[in-house]
């Protein structure tokens, strides 16, 4: 059995050949790699899921980050949703809210789960926690969905990158979005093909996204990008579940992400030397933080 997959189709093929679900392929790979029992692996993932939930529940609207740029927006979305005034439906409305809340909690030094990174920590919990809450899904199944996300993330990490400093924001919010897309497709009873194509469709929308955080802080544009990553995951899943396929096969999409990341100049890979970071306002914030 192969250790740590480098291609999405390897996971999908393995699942089909062995007649086991996608998530189980990932779990078994973890057991082999770390020499642990299936139960231990599953329970560790459950802890991650619960930590996400606790982080969401612990959101504090009063907190502000050290820069003063971040905090309180999650509560605004919540209020807007509670008033019943939402442009998008119930599900997406709450997904957006949870994405901002988690990313704000991160900026305000609260406990979160990096998924795959701290900067992109809002995407996956937003999609999954809202799903569980609104559909009343069993926790075990949510944990399985996290394994699906982890498998997609592992492939992207092995074949491209999940670090903004290496591949730009496509590697962080883009990867998180692809992971969330695959996992919610699984929850909606999508098959292997649907899962990997949902991931591909999500990732394609994020290709080329730069990492240009203001003052080098994980706040602007990171927090609100968690929202676009989460919403993009849901719309991509919807497409895949409707039978839409990515014309470019999923593994080729990931490879193009790798190549694009390599072509991105260093000034757009977390160094804060271009883009939003060097706008007049961005520079003002940076100056204030240095002072």
């Amino acid at each position: 059995m192969t250790m740590s997959f480098e291609k999405l189709h390897e996971i999908a093929d393995c699942a089909l050949e062995r007649h086991i679900p996608f998530w189980k392929v990932i779990l078994e790979d973890d057991c082999t790699e770390r020499n642990i029992s299936a139960e231990e692996s599953f329970e560790t993932m459950r802890r991650m899921y619960r930590a996400m939930k606790e982080a969401d529940e612990a959101y504090d609207a009063e907190l502000r980050s050290a820069s003063g740029m971040a905090g309180g927006d999650g509560a605004k979305l919540e209020q807007f949703r509670m008033q019943g005034s939402h442009l998008v439906g119930d599900y997406l409305s709450e997904v957006m809210e949870k994405a901002v809340k988690m990313a704000e909690s991160n900026a305000c030094m609260r406990r979160i789960v990096a998924a795959p990174t701290a900067g992109s920590c809002g995407v996956i919990p937003a999609v999954l926690l809202t799903y569980e809450k609104q559909k009343g899904t069993e926790e075990d199944r949510m944990v399985e969905a996290l394994f699906v996300a982890a498998g997609i993330g592992e492939v992207i990490a092995a074949s491209a990158s999940i670090a903004g400093a290496e591949g730009g924001c496509q590697a962080e919010i883009g990867s998180a979005s692809a992971m969330a897309a695959g996992s919610v497709t699984y929850l909606e009873n999508g098959g292997e093909e649907d899962i990997v194509h949902a991931a591909a469709l999500a990732l394609k929308n994020m290709l080329g996204l730069t990492c240009d955080p203001v003052a080098g802080l994980v706040e602007v544009p990171c927090i609100k990008r968690n929202v676009s990553g989460a919403v993009n995951a849901v719309t991509s899943a919807q497409m895949a579940l409707a039978g839409i396929r990515s014309v470019i096969p999923p593994d080729e999409v990931i490879d193009s992400m790798r190549r694009i990341g390599k072509l991105l100049p260093a000034c757009l890979r977390e160094t804060s030397q271009e883009g939003l970071a060097t706008t007049p306002t961005g520079q003002q914030v940076a100056k204030r933080m240095r002072g």
């Binding site: 050290a66 979160i112 789960v113 920590c121 990490a157 994980v218």
Partner: protein, 222 residues
């Protein structure tokens, strides 16, 4: 990389390199000091110095020095807790040459007077590298139990240490040797697959030619 590097770790934000990595550097350094902390000079370098404030890097380093792990929700309060415990904390800028952009130099003093100088680097994700101890360059991650022996640069010390480990059924994962100058003093850094028993460390400390033994255990509170 395993799946829990992808989904995980559970950590206090905002940044895996500038916050979680910094906690880990502090944590490993405190354990290396091997006695309760009395005073810490925290000298920042590179991006730690430039963006550390907004990332809570200083709070994170202090939290680690207090023995907190990367998911401890008291990290933002670390300065206050240090003050309560009567620990003196001094911040400054490090003068390091060609260091990793996310580096810190820690100069620590324990309550019984033991001193330790550590250079730590946060090298991506929440992974770290201890790049220097007491002026000698090193390379270890804090992912393994690690034994560091300062000894006079004389024949036989490496054999003594490795045979002791073999005798205690401790397998060596990596081993590095450094020396300040020929015939001066040398340092062995040994990452192990198992914990080194306490009595073996005490035995090493009394060995002739051994000047200092530092041990990093993965077990809590040691």
């Amino acid at each position: 990389m395993n799946v829990f590097d992808i989904i995980g770790p559970v950590m206090v934000g905002p940044s895996s390199s500038h916050t979680a990595g910094a906690v880990k550097i502090g944590y490993v350094s405190r354990k290396l000091l091997a006695e309760p902390l009395k005073k810490a000079e925290i000298l920042l370098y590179g991006s730690f110095l430039a963006t550390g404030k907004g990332h809570g890097t200083t709070l994170a380093l202090v939290a680690g020095l207090l023995g907190m792990k990367t998911d401890d929700s008291r990290i933002p309060d670390s300065m206050r807790i240090a003050e309560e415990r009567g620990i003196e904390i001094i911040f400054g800028e490090a003068e390091l040459r060609d260091a990793h952009p996310n580096s810190v130099q820690l100069i620590l003093t324990g309550i019984d007077g033991r001193k330790l100088e550590v250079v730590g680097e946060s090298i991506g994700g929440s992974r770290i590298n201890i790049a220097g101890i007491d002026g000698i360059s090193t390379n270890f991650s804090g992912d393994y139990p690690t034994l560091i022996v300062h000894n006079l640069d004389q024949p036989g010390h490496v054999a003594e240490v490795t045979s002791m480990l073999a005798h205690k059924s401790v397998n060596i994962a990596t081993m590095q040797l450094y020396r300040a100058s020929r015939g001066g003093y040398a340092v062995m850094v040994i990452e192990c697959d198992q914990e080194v028993p306490k009595e073996s460390i005490a035995w090493l400390e009394h060995l002739e030619g051994v000047q200092k033994v530092t041990y990093y255990s993965l077990k809590d509170g040691e």
